[in-house]
Protein backbone atom coordinates (compact mmCIF):
# COMPACT_ATOMS: atom_id res chain seq x y z
CA UNK A 1 0.00 0.00 0.00
CA UNK A 2 2.67 2.45 1.05
CA UNK A 3 4.74 1.51 -1.89
CA UNK A 4 2.01 2.17 -4.48
CA UNK A 5 1.32 5.55 -2.93
CA UNK A 6 4.97 6.32 -3.18
CA UNK A 7 5.06 5.27 -6.81
CA UNK A 8 2.08 7.42 -7.62
CA UNK A 9 3.75 10.43 -6.09
CA UNK A 10 6.83 9.78 -8.12
CA UNK A 11 4.79 9.55 -11.26
CA UNK A 12 3.08 12.81 -10.53
CA UNK A 13 6.31 14.61 -9.73
CA UNK A 14 8.05 13.27 -12.77
CA UNK A 15 9.63 16.39 -14.30
CA UNK A 16 9.47 15.01 -17.86
CA UNK A 17 5.77 14.18 -17.62
CA UNK A 18 5.09 17.58 -16.15
CA UNK A 19 7.00 19.31 -18.89
CA UNK A 20 5.09 17.41 -21.56
CA UNK A 21 1.81 18.34 -19.90
CA UNK A 22 2.85 22.00 -19.90
CA UNK A 23 3.83 21.91 -23.54
CA UNK A 24 0.48 20.34 -24.44
CA UNK A 25 -1.36 23.04 -22.47
CA UNK A 26 0.57 25.77 -24.27
CA UNK A 27 -0.15 24.23 -27.67
CA UNK A 28 -3.88 23.96 -26.90
CA UNK A 29 -3.97 27.51 -25.55
CA UNK A 30 -2.17 28.90 -28.57
CA UNK A 31 -4.54 27.11 -30.93
CA UNK A 32 -7.54 28.49 -29.03
CA UNK A 33 -6.02 31.97 -29.00
CA UNK A 34 -5.57 31.80 -32.77
CA UNK A 35 -9.18 30.70 -33.18
CA UNK A 36 -10.30 33.63 -31.04
CA UNK A 37 -8.28 36.07 -33.10
CA UNK A 38 -9.18 34.70 -36.55
CA UNK A 39 -12.00 37.21 -37.19
CA UNK A 40 -9.68 40.11 -36.46
CA UNK A 41 -6.91 38.74 -38.65
CA UNK A 42 -9.41 38.08 -41.43
CA UNK A 43 -10.71 41.62 -41.02
CA UNK A 44 -7.21 43.03 -41.41
CA UNK A 45 -6.38 40.79 -44.34
CA UNK A 46 -9.63 41.60 -46.18
CA UNK A 47 -9.27 45.30 -45.55
CA UNK A 48 -6.07 45.29 -47.61
CA UNK A 49 -7.53 43.50 -50.63
CA UNK A 50 -9.69 44.36 -53.63
CA UNK A 51 -13.42 43.72 -53.14
CA UNK A 52 -13.41 40.73 -55.51
CA UNK A 53 -10.39 39.18 -53.79
CA UNK A 54 -12.14 38.96 -50.43
CA UNK A 55 -14.12 35.81 -51.29
CA UNK A 56 -11.68 34.37 -53.82
CA UNK A 57 -11.06 30.62 -53.71
CA UNK A 58 -8.73 29.46 -52.26
CA UNK A 59 -8.56 32.13 -49.64
CA UNK A 60 -5.31 34.02 -49.19
CA UNK A 61 -4.39 35.35 -45.75
CA UNK A 62 -1.81 37.71 -47.22
CA UNK A 63 -3.10 39.68 -50.23
CA UNK A 64 -1.03 39.72 -53.42
CA UNK A 65 -0.77 43.47 -53.42
CA UNK A 66 -1.36 45.18 -50.13
CA UNK A 67 -3.72 48.12 -50.61
CA UNK A 68 -3.22 50.61 -47.82
CA UNK A 69 -5.14 53.11 -49.96
CA UNK A 70 -8.38 51.39 -48.80
CA UNK A 71 -7.83 53.10 -45.47
CA UNK A 72 -7.66 56.51 -47.15
CA UNK A 73 -10.75 55.79 -49.24
CA UNK A 74 -13.15 55.11 -46.36
CA UNK A 75 -12.79 58.63 -44.94
CA UNK A 76 -14.04 60.04 -48.26
CA UNK A 77 -16.97 57.64 -48.55
CA UNK A 78 -18.58 58.43 -45.19
CA UNK A 79 -18.07 61.17 -42.60
CA UNK A 80 -16.20 58.77 -40.34
CA UNK A 81 -14.45 61.62 -38.58
CA UNK A 82 -17.79 63.13 -37.53
CA UNK A 83 -18.89 59.73 -36.22
CA UNK A 84 -15.70 59.40 -34.22
CA UNK A 85 -16.06 62.89 -32.76
CA UNK A 86 -19.67 62.26 -31.74
CA UNK A 87 -18.86 58.95 -30.11
CA UNK A 88 -15.88 60.41 -28.29
CA UNK A 89 -18.00 63.30 -27.04
CA UNK A 90 -20.73 61.01 -25.72
CA UNK A 91 -18.32 58.49 -24.21
CA UNK A 92 -16.22 61.13 -22.45
CA UNK A 93 -19.11 63.19 -21.08
CA UNK A 94 -21.01 60.10 -19.93
CA UNK A 95 -17.95 58.62 -18.27
CA UNK A 96 -17.19 61.89 -16.49
CA UNK A 97 -20.74 62.50 -15.27
CA UNK A 98 -21.28 58.87 -14.32
CA UNK A 99 -18.12 58.63 -12.26
CA UNK A 100 -18.61 61.98 -10.54
CA UNK A 101 -22.29 61.65 -9.62
CA UNK A 102 -21.99 57.96 -8.74
CA UNK A 103 -19.12 58.41 -6.33
CA UNK A 104 -20.91 61.39 -4.81
CA UNK A 105 -24.15 59.49 -4.26
CA UNK A 106 -22.31 56.36 -3.18
CA UNK A 107 -20.62 58.30 -0.38
CA UNK A 108 -24.03 59.21 1.05
CA UNK A 109 -25.24 55.62 0.79
CA UNK A 110 -22.10 54.15 2.33
CA UNK A 111 -21.05 56.61 5.02
CA UNK A 112 -23.91 58.93 5.95
CA UNK A 113 -26.93 58.26 8.13
CA UNK A 114 -30.23 59.72 7.04
CA UNK A 115 -33.87 58.83 6.95
CA UNK A 116 -35.01 56.76 3.98
CA UNK A 117 -31.51 55.67 3.06
CA UNK A 118 -32.20 51.96 2.79
CA UNK A 119 -35.48 52.40 0.94
CA UNK A 120 -33.84 54.69 -1.58
CA UNK A 121 -30.96 52.32 -2.08
CA UNK A 122 -33.37 49.45 -2.62
CA UNK A 123 -34.96 51.54 -5.39
CA UNK A 124 -31.57 51.83 -7.07
CA UNK A 125 -30.86 48.11 -6.76
CA UNK A 126 -34.29 47.14 -8.02
CA UNK A 127 -33.86 49.12 -11.23
CA UNK A 128 -30.57 47.35 -11.98
CA UNK A 129 -32.68 44.23 -12.37
CA UNK A 130 -35.12 45.93 -14.74
CA UNK A 131 -33.93 45.48 -18.32
CA UNK A 132 -33.52 48.74 -20.19
CA UNK A 133 -35.36 47.26 -23.17
CA UNK A 134 -38.48 47.04 -21.02
CA UNK A 135 -38.69 50.80 -20.44
CA UNK A 136 -36.85 52.21 -23.45
CA UNK A 137 -40.12 53.15 -25.14
CA UNK A 138 -41.61 55.44 -22.45
CA UNK A 139 -38.12 56.86 -22.02
CA UNK A 140 -38.00 57.59 -25.73
CA UNK A 141 -41.44 59.23 -25.73
CA UNK A 142 -40.42 61.37 -22.77
CA UNK A 143 -37.11 62.43 -24.27
CA UNK A 144 -38.78 63.31 -27.55
CA UNK A 145 -41.27 65.53 -25.78
CA UNK A 146 -38.33 67.24 -24.08
CA UNK A 147 -36.87 68.00 -27.48
CA UNK A 148 -33.90 65.68 -26.98
CA UNK A 149 -34.66 63.40 -29.93
CA UNK A 150 -31.77 63.26 -32.40
CA UNK A 151 -29.35 65.13 -30.14
CA UNK A 152 -26.14 63.90 -28.60
CA UNK A 153 -27.42 65.00 -25.18
CA UNK A 154 -30.09 62.32 -25.38
CA UNK A 155 -27.35 59.71 -25.33
CA UNK A 156 -25.63 61.49 -22.47
CA UNK A 157 -28.61 61.66 -20.10
CA UNK A 158 -29.61 58.16 -21.10
CA UNK A 159 -26.43 56.62 -19.74
CA UNK A 160 -24.90 59.07 -17.29
CA UNK A 161 -26.99 58.25 -14.21
CA UNK A 162 -27.07 54.49 -14.10
CA UNK A 163 -27.74 52.71 -10.84
CA UNK A 164 -24.88 50.34 -11.62
CA UNK A 165 -22.24 53.03 -11.00
CA UNK A 166 -23.71 53.96 -7.62
CA UNK A 167 -23.87 50.31 -6.63
CA UNK A 168 -20.26 49.61 -7.63
CA UNK A 169 -18.87 52.65 -5.81
CA UNK A 170 -20.97 52.04 -2.70
CA UNK A 171 -19.67 48.49 -2.41
CA UNK A 172 -16.14 49.82 -2.55
CA UNK A 173 -16.71 52.69 -0.10
CA UNK A 174 -18.16 50.28 2.43
CA UNK A 175 -14.81 48.49 2.53
CA UNK A 176 -13.10 51.73 3.65
CA UNK A 177 -13.13 51.89 7.48
CA UNK A 178 -15.71 54.32 8.89
CA UNK A 179 -13.25 55.32 11.64
CA UNK A 180 -11.27 57.16 8.98
CA UNK A 181 -14.25 59.40 8.24
CA UNK A 182 -14.99 59.91 11.93
CA UNK A 183 -11.44 60.95 12.65
CA UNK A 184 -11.57 63.42 9.80
CA UNK A 185 -14.87 64.80 11.09
CA UNK A 186 -13.27 65.39 14.50
CA UNK A 187 -10.46 67.21 12.75
CA UNK A 188 -13.08 69.61 11.41
CA UNK A 189 -13.29 68.38 7.82
CA UNK A 190 -16.72 68.83 6.22
CA UNK A 191 -18.45 65.89 4.54
CA UNK A 192 -17.48 67.31 1.14
CA UNK A 193 -13.90 67.55 2.34
CA UNK A 194 -13.93 63.93 3.47
CA UNK A 195 -15.28 62.85 0.08
CA UNK A 196 -12.71 64.86 -1.86
CA UNK A 197 -9.62 64.33 0.29
CA UNK A 198 -10.12 60.86 1.74
CA UNK A 199 -12.63 58.80 -0.20
CA UNK A 200 -11.64 59.81 -3.73
CA UNK A 201 -7.90 59.20 -3.35
CA UNK A 202 -8.59 55.84 -1.68
CA UNK A 203 -10.95 54.64 -4.39
CA UNK A 204 -8.69 55.00 -7.42
CA UNK A 205 -9.03 51.34 -8.34
CA UNK A 206 -12.82 51.40 -8.15
CA UNK A 207 -12.93 54.60 -10.17
CA UNK A 208 -10.67 53.13 -12.83
CA UNK A 209 -12.99 50.13 -13.06
CA UNK A 210 -16.05 52.30 -13.40
CA UNK A 211 -14.35 54.56 -15.95
CA UNK A 212 -13.34 51.75 -18.26
CA UNK A 213 -16.67 49.94 -17.91
CA UNK A 214 -18.62 53.06 -18.74
CA UNK A 215 -16.32 54.15 -21.54
CA UNK A 216 -16.36 50.79 -23.29
CA UNK A 217 -20.09 50.23 -22.97
CA UNK A 218 -20.91 53.76 -24.14
CA UNK A 219 -18.49 53.54 -27.05
CA UNK A 220 -19.96 50.21 -28.14
CA UNK A 221 -23.61 51.05 -27.51
CA UNK A 222 -25.66 50.23 -30.57
CA UNK A 223 -29.34 50.15 -29.67
CA UNK A 224 -29.46 53.57 -27.98
CA UNK A 225 -27.96 55.55 -30.90
CA UNK A 226 -29.97 53.40 -33.28
CA UNK A 227 -33.22 54.65 -31.70
CA UNK A 228 -32.25 58.25 -31.00
CA UNK A 229 -29.80 59.47 -33.63
CA UNK A 230 -31.06 59.87 -37.18
CA UNK A 231 -29.20 62.79 -38.74
CA UNK A 232 -25.83 61.91 -40.18
CA UNK A 233 -24.20 64.77 -38.27
CA UNK A 234 -25.25 63.15 -34.98
CA UNK A 235 -24.46 59.50 -35.62
CA UNK A 236 -22.01 57.54 -33.51
CA UNK A 237 -19.41 55.27 -35.00
CA UNK A 238 -21.55 52.15 -34.42
CA UNK A 239 -24.65 53.35 -36.26
CA UNK A 240 -22.52 55.23 -38.78
CA UNK A 241 -20.65 52.06 -39.60
CA UNK A 242 -23.98 50.28 -39.94
CA UNK A 243 -25.13 52.94 -42.43
CA UNK A 244 -21.92 52.55 -44.38
CA UNK A 245 -22.47 48.78 -44.56
CA UNK A 246 -26.04 49.17 -45.79
CA UNK A 247 -25.11 51.69 -48.47
CA UNK A 248 -21.97 49.97 -49.76
CA UNK A 249 -22.89 46.38 -49.05
CA UNK A 250 -20.56 44.86 -51.64
CA UNK A 251 -17.48 46.95 -50.79
CA UNK A 252 -16.33 44.18 -48.46
CA UNK A 253 -12.76 45.46 -48.34
CA UNK A 254 -13.81 48.99 -47.33
CA UNK A 255 -16.33 47.73 -44.77
CA UNK A 256 -13.57 45.70 -43.13
CA UNK A 257 -11.22 48.69 -43.15
CA UNK A 258 -13.86 50.90 -41.51
CA UNK A 259 -14.71 48.17 -39.00
CA UNK A 260 -11.10 47.85 -38.00
CA UNK A 261 -10.83 51.62 -37.51
CA UNK A 262 -13.90 51.57 -35.29
CA UNK A 263 -12.25 48.99 -33.05
CA UNK A 264 -9.04 50.89 -32.50
CA UNK A 265 -9.90 53.54 -29.84
CA UNK A 266 -11.62 51.15 -27.50
CA UNK A 267 -8.88 48.54 -27.97
CA UNK A 268 -6.25 51.05 -26.94
CA UNK A 269 -8.22 52.07 -23.85
CA UNK A 270 -8.73 48.41 -22.99
CA UNK A 271 -5.08 47.47 -23.38
CA UNK A 272 -3.99 50.37 -21.19
CA UNK A 273 -6.53 49.82 -18.40
CA UNK A 274 -7.21 46.09 -18.79
CA UNK A 275 -5.90 45.31 -15.31
CA UNK A 276 -8.70 47.37 -13.74
CA UNK A 277 -11.27 46.03 -16.16
CA UNK A 278 -10.50 42.41 -15.44
CA UNK A 279 -10.10 42.90 -11.70
CA UNK A 280 -13.37 44.78 -11.62
CA UNK A 281 -15.19 41.90 -13.26
CA UNK A 282 -13.51 39.34 -11.05
CA UNK A 283 -14.53 41.11 -7.85
CA UNK A 284 -17.95 42.46 -8.72
CA UNK A 285 -18.91 40.07 -11.48
CA UNK A 286 -21.34 42.69 -12.71
CA UNK A 287 -22.05 43.72 -16.21
CA UNK A 288 -21.97 47.34 -17.28
Amino acid sequence: MEQTLHQKEIRRDNPVARKILHIVIYIVLTALALFTLIPFVWMLSSSLKLDREVFAYPMKWIPETIRWENYALIWQKVPLLTYFKNTAFIAIVVTFLQTLTSSFAAYAFAKLEFRGRDTLFLCYIATIAVPWQAYMLPQFIMMRSMGLYDTLWAMVVLQAFSAFGVFLMRQFYRSIPTELCEAARLDGLSEYGIWARIMLPLSKAAIATLVIFTFVSTWNDYMGPMIYLTRDANKTIQVGLRRFIQENSSDYHLIMAASLCSLLPVSIVFLCLQKYFIEGIATSGLKG
Partner: protein, 306 residues
Protein backbone atom coordinates in the same frame (compact mmCIF):
# COMPACT_ATOMS: atom_id res chain seq x y z
CA UNK B 1 -36.11 66.00 13.96
CA UNK B 2 -33.33 67.77 15.81
CA UNK B 3 -31.35 70.52 14.10
CA UNK B 4 -28.22 68.45 13.86
CA UNK B 5 -30.17 65.61 12.33
CA UNK B 6 -31.83 67.96 9.85
CA UNK B 7 -28.47 69.31 8.79
CA UNK B 8 -27.08 65.81 8.37
CA UNK B 9 -30.01 64.77 6.21
CA UNK B 10 -29.66 67.88 4.06
CA UNK B 11 -25.99 67.19 3.49
CA UNK B 12 -26.76 63.59 2.55
CA UNK B 13 -29.40 64.74 0.09
CA UNK B 14 -26.96 67.16 -1.49
CA UNK B 15 -24.64 64.23 -2.17
CA UNK B 16 -27.47 62.23 -3.68
CA UNK B 17 -29.17 64.96 -5.67
CA UNK B 18 -27.03 65.11 -8.85
CA UNK B 19 -27.31 61.39 -9.49
CA UNK B 20 -30.81 60.93 -8.11
CA UNK B 21 -32.39 63.67 -10.24
CA UNK B 22 -31.04 62.13 -13.43
CA UNK B 23 -31.88 58.63 -12.22
CA UNK B 24 -35.44 59.52 -11.19
CA UNK B 25 -36.28 61.39 -14.38
CA UNK B 26 -34.67 59.08 -16.90
CA UNK B 27 -35.07 55.69 -15.22
CA UNK B 28 -37.67 55.59 -12.43
CA UNK B 29 -40.37 57.55 -14.25
CA UNK B 30 -40.06 55.53 -17.49
CA UNK B 31 -40.16 52.25 -15.56
CA UNK B 32 -43.48 53.23 -13.96
CA UNK B 33 -44.80 54.57 -17.28
CA UNK B 34 -43.87 51.34 -19.04
CA UNK B 35 -46.22 49.34 -16.84
CA UNK B 36 -49.04 51.86 -17.34
CA UNK B 37 -48.53 52.19 -21.09
CA UNK B 38 -49.15 48.47 -21.61
CA UNK B 39 -52.84 49.10 -20.73
CA UNK B 40 -53.28 51.87 -23.27
CA UNK B 41 -53.59 52.10 -27.00
CA UNK B 42 -51.44 54.75 -28.61
CA UNK B 43 -50.01 54.89 -32.10
CA UNK B 44 -47.77 57.88 -31.57
CA UNK B 45 -48.90 61.38 -32.38
CA UNK B 46 -50.66 63.67 -29.94
CA UNK B 47 -50.95 62.50 -26.34
CA UNK B 48 -54.72 63.14 -26.41
CA UNK B 49 -55.04 60.02 -28.59
CA UNK B 50 -54.00 57.84 -25.68
CA UNK B 51 -56.87 55.41 -24.99
CA UNK B 52 -57.29 53.04 -22.06
CA UNK B 53 -57.94 49.51 -23.29
CA UNK B 54 -57.38 47.33 -20.24
CA UNK B 55 -55.84 43.98 -21.11
CA UNK B 56 -56.54 44.28 -24.85
CA UNK B 57 -52.86 44.67 -25.76
CA UNK B 58 -52.06 41.45 -23.95
CA UNK B 59 -54.94 39.67 -25.64
CA UNK B 60 -53.62 40.88 -29.01
CA UNK B 61 -50.00 39.84 -28.54
CA UNK B 62 -51.01 36.42 -27.24
CA UNK B 63 -53.58 36.27 -30.05
CA UNK B 64 -55.94 34.71 -27.50
CA UNK B 65 -58.79 34.13 -29.95
CA UNK B 66 -56.84 32.08 -32.49
CA UNK B 67 -54.72 30.29 -29.89
CA UNK B 68 -57.76 29.14 -27.91
CA UNK B 69 -59.16 27.64 -31.11
CA UNK B 70 -55.96 26.10 -32.44
CA UNK B 71 -53.96 25.26 -29.35
CA UNK B 72 -50.46 25.96 -28.10
CA UNK B 73 -48.70 24.69 -31.20
CA UNK B 74 -50.34 27.53 -33.10
CA UNK B 75 -48.98 29.99 -30.55
CA UNK B 76 -45.37 28.85 -30.89
CA UNK B 77 -45.43 28.43 -34.67
CA UNK B 78 -47.57 31.28 -35.95
CA UNK B 79 -47.95 34.04 -33.35
CA UNK B 80 -45.11 36.60 -33.28
CA UNK B 81 -44.84 36.47 -29.48
CA UNK B 82 -44.74 32.67 -29.46
CA UNK B 83 -42.09 32.55 -32.16
CA UNK B 84 -39.88 35.13 -30.52
CA UNK B 85 -40.26 33.41 -27.13
CA UNK B 86 -39.39 30.06 -28.67
CA UNK B 87 -36.35 31.48 -30.48
CA UNK B 88 -35.12 33.35 -27.40
CA UNK B 89 -35.48 30.28 -25.18
CA UNK B 90 -33.76 28.04 -27.74
CA UNK B 91 -30.93 30.54 -28.08
CA UNK B 92 -30.59 30.76 -24.28
CA UNK B 93 -30.66 27.00 -23.74
CA UNK B 94 -27.82 26.43 -26.21
CA UNK B 95 -25.71 29.52 -25.56
CA UNK B 96 -25.56 29.34 -21.75
CA UNK B 97 -24.13 25.79 -21.37
CA UNK B 98 -21.80 26.20 -24.35
CA UNK B 99 -20.39 29.44 -22.99
CA UNK B 100 -19.97 27.94 -19.52
CA UNK B 101 -18.07 24.93 -20.88
CA UNK B 102 -15.77 27.14 -22.97
CA UNK B 103 -15.24 29.67 -20.18
CA UNK B 104 -14.48 26.99 -17.59
CA UNK B 105 -12.15 25.11 -19.94
CA UNK B 106 -10.20 28.27 -20.71
CA UNK B 107 -10.01 29.17 -17.03
CA UNK B 108 -8.72 25.69 -16.11
CA UNK B 109 -6.07 25.82 -18.83
CA UNK B 110 -4.96 29.28 -17.76
CA UNK B 111 -4.99 28.57 -14.05
CA UNK B 112 -1.45 28.72 -12.62
CA UNK B 113 0.41 28.96 -15.87
CA UNK B 114 3.16 31.32 -16.85
CA UNK B 115 2.20 33.90 -19.46
CA UNK B 116 -1.47 33.61 -18.46
CA UNK B 117 -1.97 37.38 -18.69
CA UNK B 118 -1.20 37.49 -22.41
CA UNK B 119 -3.62 34.65 -23.17
CA UNK B 120 -6.23 36.12 -20.87
CA UNK B 121 -6.07 39.41 -22.76
CA UNK B 122 -6.55 37.63 -26.08
CA UNK B 123 -9.54 35.57 -24.92
CA UNK B 124 -11.11 38.60 -23.31
CA UNK B 125 -10.61 40.91 -26.27
CA UNK B 126 -13.76 39.99 -28.27
CA UNK B 127 -15.83 41.16 -25.32
CA UNK B 128 -14.67 44.76 -25.66
CA UNK B 129 -14.68 44.80 -29.46
CA UNK B 130 -17.69 46.67 -30.78
CA UNK B 131 -20.66 44.65 -31.96
CA UNK B 132 -21.14 46.12 -35.41
CA UNK B 133 -17.56 45.46 -36.44
CA UNK B 134 -17.40 41.89 -35.17
CA UNK B 135 -20.88 40.95 -36.33
CA UNK B 136 -20.34 42.18 -39.86
CA UNK B 137 -16.98 40.44 -39.93
CA UNK B 138 -18.57 37.15 -38.81
CA UNK B 139 -21.41 37.50 -41.33
CA UNK B 140 -18.85 37.90 -44.09
CA UNK B 141 -16.86 34.94 -42.83
CA UNK B 142 -20.07 32.88 -42.76
CA UNK B 143 -21.08 33.83 -46.30
CA UNK B 144 -21.57 31.33 -49.09
CA UNK B 145 -17.96 31.51 -50.32
CA UNK B 146 -16.53 32.67 -47.02
CA UNK B 147 -13.58 31.14 -45.18
CA UNK B 148 -15.74 29.11 -42.77
CA UNK B 149 -17.59 27.32 -45.56
CA UNK B 150 -14.30 26.83 -47.43
CA UNK B 151 -12.95 25.20 -44.29
CA UNK B 152 -15.90 22.91 -43.58
CA UNK B 153 -16.03 21.86 -47.23
CA UNK B 154 -12.33 21.02 -47.04
CA UNK B 155 -13.05 18.64 -44.16
CA UNK B 156 -15.86 17.05 -46.16
CA UNK B 157 -19.12 18.69 -45.06
CA UNK B 158 -21.07 19.70 -48.17
CA UNK B 159 -22.60 22.97 -46.93
CA UNK B 160 -22.47 25.89 -49.33
CA UNK B 161 -25.07 28.36 -48.22
CA UNK B 162 -24.73 31.66 -46.47
CA UNK B 163 -25.35 30.88 -42.78
CA UNK B 164 -27.29 34.03 -42.04
CA UNK B 165 -29.53 33.53 -45.09
CA UNK B 166 -30.47 29.97 -44.16
CA UNK B 167 -33.42 29.68 -41.78
CA UNK B 168 -32.00 26.61 -40.03
CA UNK B 169 -28.44 27.90 -39.67
CA UNK B 170 -29.05 31.59 -38.91
CA UNK B 171 -29.65 31.05 -35.20
CA UNK B 172 -26.46 28.96 -34.99
CA UNK B 173 -24.50 31.83 -36.48
CA UNK B 174 -25.84 34.04 -33.70
CA UNK B 175 -25.02 31.43 -31.06
CA UNK B 176 -21.50 31.06 -32.45
CA UNK B 177 -20.83 34.80 -32.27
CA UNK B 178 -22.34 35.05 -28.78
CA UNK B 179 -20.27 32.22 -27.35
CA UNK B 180 -17.10 33.50 -29.01
CA UNK B 181 -17.70 37.00 -27.70
CA UNK B 182 -18.70 36.18 -24.11
CA UNK B 183 -16.54 33.20 -23.17
CA UNK B 184 -13.61 35.46 -22.18
CA UNK B 185 -15.78 37.49 -19.85
CA UNK B 186 -17.00 34.48 -17.90
CA UNK B 187 -13.51 32.95 -18.03
CA UNK B 188 -12.34 35.91 -15.94
CA UNK B 189 -15.00 35.19 -13.33
CA UNK B 190 -14.04 31.50 -13.26
CA UNK B 191 -10.35 32.36 -12.97
CA UNK B 192 -11.10 34.43 -9.88
CA UNK B 193 -13.23 31.63 -8.45
CA UNK B 194 -10.48 29.05 -9.03
CA UNK B 195 -8.18 31.07 -6.78
CA UNK B 196 -10.69 30.42 -4.01
CA UNK B 197 -10.56 26.62 -4.24
CA UNK B 198 -8.67 25.60 -1.08
CA UNK B 199 -5.26 24.06 -1.81
CA UNK B 200 -5.61 21.64 1.08
CA UNK B 201 -8.65 20.03 -0.54
CA UNK B 202 -6.79 19.50 -3.82
CA UNK B 203 -3.76 18.13 -1.99
CA UNK B 204 -5.92 15.81 0.09
CA UNK B 205 -7.47 14.46 -3.10
CA UNK B 206 -4.01 13.86 -4.55
CA UNK B 207 -2.91 12.00 -1.46
CA UNK B 208 -6.04 9.84 -1.79
CA UNK B 209 -4.81 8.90 -5.23
CA UNK B 210 -7.15 11.00 -7.32
CA UNK B 211 -5.88 11.89 -10.78
CA UNK B 212 -6.32 15.28 -12.36
CA UNK B 213 -9.72 14.37 -13.80
CA UNK B 214 -11.10 12.95 -10.54
CA UNK B 215 -9.73 15.95 -8.70
CA UNK B 216 -11.65 18.18 -11.07
CA UNK B 217 -14.92 16.25 -10.79
CA UNK B 218 -14.88 15.70 -7.04
CA UNK B 219 -13.17 18.80 -5.70
CA UNK B 220 -12.94 21.70 -8.14
CA UNK B 221 -16.37 21.44 -9.74
CA UNK B 222 -18.34 21.24 -6.46
CA UNK B 223 -16.30 24.14 -5.08
CA UNK B 224 -17.23 26.19 -8.15
CA UNK B 225 -20.96 25.54 -7.80
CA UNK B 226 -21.93 28.99 -6.45
CA UNK B 227 -19.95 30.63 -9.27
CA UNK B 228 -21.53 28.44 -11.92
CA UNK B 229 -24.96 29.28 -10.55
CA UNK B 230 -24.24 33.00 -10.51
CA UNK B 231 -22.75 32.91 -14.01
CA UNK B 232 -25.72 30.95 -15.37
CA UNK B 233 -28.24 33.41 -13.96
CA UNK B 234 -26.35 36.42 -15.32
CA UNK B 235 -26.04 34.79 -18.69
CA UNK B 236 -29.69 33.72 -18.88
CA UNK B 237 -30.75 37.29 -18.18
CA UNK B 238 -28.41 38.74 -20.79
CA UNK B 239 -29.51 36.09 -23.32
CA UNK B 240 -33.13 37.16 -22.88
CA UNK B 241 -32.08 40.71 -23.68
CA UNK B 242 -30.27 39.80 -26.90
CA UNK B 243 -30.68 42.36 -29.65
CA UNK B 244 -27.45 43.71 -31.18
CA UNK B 245 -26.13 40.52 -32.76
CA UNK B 246 -29.51 39.68 -34.27
CA UNK B 247 -30.19 43.21 -35.49
CA UNK B 248 -26.84 43.39 -37.25
CA UNK B 249 -26.46 39.85 -38.56
CA UNK B 250 -29.96 38.69 -39.53
CA UNK B 251 -32.47 41.39 -38.57
CA UNK B 252 -34.69 38.61 -37.21
CA UNK B 253 -34.68 36.72 -40.49
CA UNK B 254 -34.75 34.83 -42.71
CA UNK B 255 -38.50 34.87 -42.23
CA UNK B 256 -38.97 34.97 -38.49
CA UNK B 257 -36.36 32.32 -37.74
CA UNK B 258 -34.21 34.55 -35.51
CA UNK B 259 -36.86 36.91 -34.23
CA UNK B 260 -36.18 37.47 -30.52
CA UNK B 261 -38.17 39.10 -27.75
CA UNK B 262 -36.32 42.42 -27.95
CA UNK B 263 -36.30 42.42 -31.75
CA UNK B 264 -40.07 42.07 -31.51
CA UNK B 265 -40.35 44.96 -29.02
CA UNK B 266 -38.21 47.14 -31.28
CA UNK B 267 -40.36 46.36 -34.33
CA UNK B 268 -43.63 47.12 -32.60
CA UNK B 269 -42.31 50.26 -30.92
CA UNK B 270 -40.17 51.92 -33.56
CA UNK B 271 -41.16 50.40 -36.89
CA UNK B 272 -44.89 49.76 -36.56
CA UNK B 273 -45.37 52.48 -33.91
CA UNK B 274 -47.77 50.43 -31.77
CA UNK B 275 -46.77 51.74 -28.38
CA UNK B 276 -49.32 49.85 -26.31
CA UNK B 277 -48.50 46.45 -27.73
CA UNK B 278 -44.77 47.12 -27.56
CA UNK B 279 -45.17 47.91 -23.86
CA UNK B 280 -47.16 44.74 -23.27
CA UNK B 281 -44.32 42.67 -24.79
CA UNK B 282 -41.87 44.65 -22.65
CA UNK B 283 -43.80 43.55 -19.60
CA UNK B 284 -43.38 39.91 -20.61
CA UNK B 285 -39.62 40.48 -20.79
CA UNK B 286 -39.71 42.30 -17.46
CA UNK B 287 -41.60 39.49 -15.72
CA UNK B 288 -39.23 36.83 -17.07
CA UNK B 289 -36.14 38.74 -15.95
CA UNK B 290 -37.62 39.53 -12.53
CA UNK B 291 -38.57 35.91 -11.90
CA UNK B 292 -35.01 34.81 -12.71
CA UNK B 293 -33.63 37.53 -10.43
CA UNK B 294 -35.87 36.44 -7.56
CA UNK B 295 -34.72 32.84 -8.00
CA UNK B 296 -31.14 34.10 -7.79
CA UNK B 297 -31.84 36.10 -4.61
CA UNK B 298 -33.47 33.12 -2.91
CA UNK B 299 -30.68 30.75 -3.84
CA UNK B 300 -27.94 33.15 -2.86
CA UNK B 301 -29.42 33.16 0.62
CA UNK B 302 -29.33 29.38 0.54
CA UNK B 303 -25.68 29.34 -0.60
CA UNK B 304 -24.62 31.79 2.10
CA UNK B 305 -26.44 29.91 4.85
CA UNK B 306 -24.98 26.56 3.79
Amino acid sequence: MSRAEKKRTLIAYSFLAPNFLGFAIFTLVPVVCAIALSFFEWNGGDISRLKFVGFDNYATIFNVKKVSQNGLAYFFNRVDLGISLKNTIFYTLITVPLTIVCALALALLLNKIRGAVAYRTIFFFPYVASMVAICVCWSFMLMKDGPINQFIQAIGIPFNKSWTADSAMAIWAIILVSVWRNMGYYMVIYLAALQGVPRELLEAATVDGAGKWKQFIHVTLPQLRPTTFFVSIMMIISCFKIYDVVAIMTDGGPGRSTKMLVTYIYDEAFVKIRYGQASAISMILLVIVLVITIIQFRSEKKFSSD
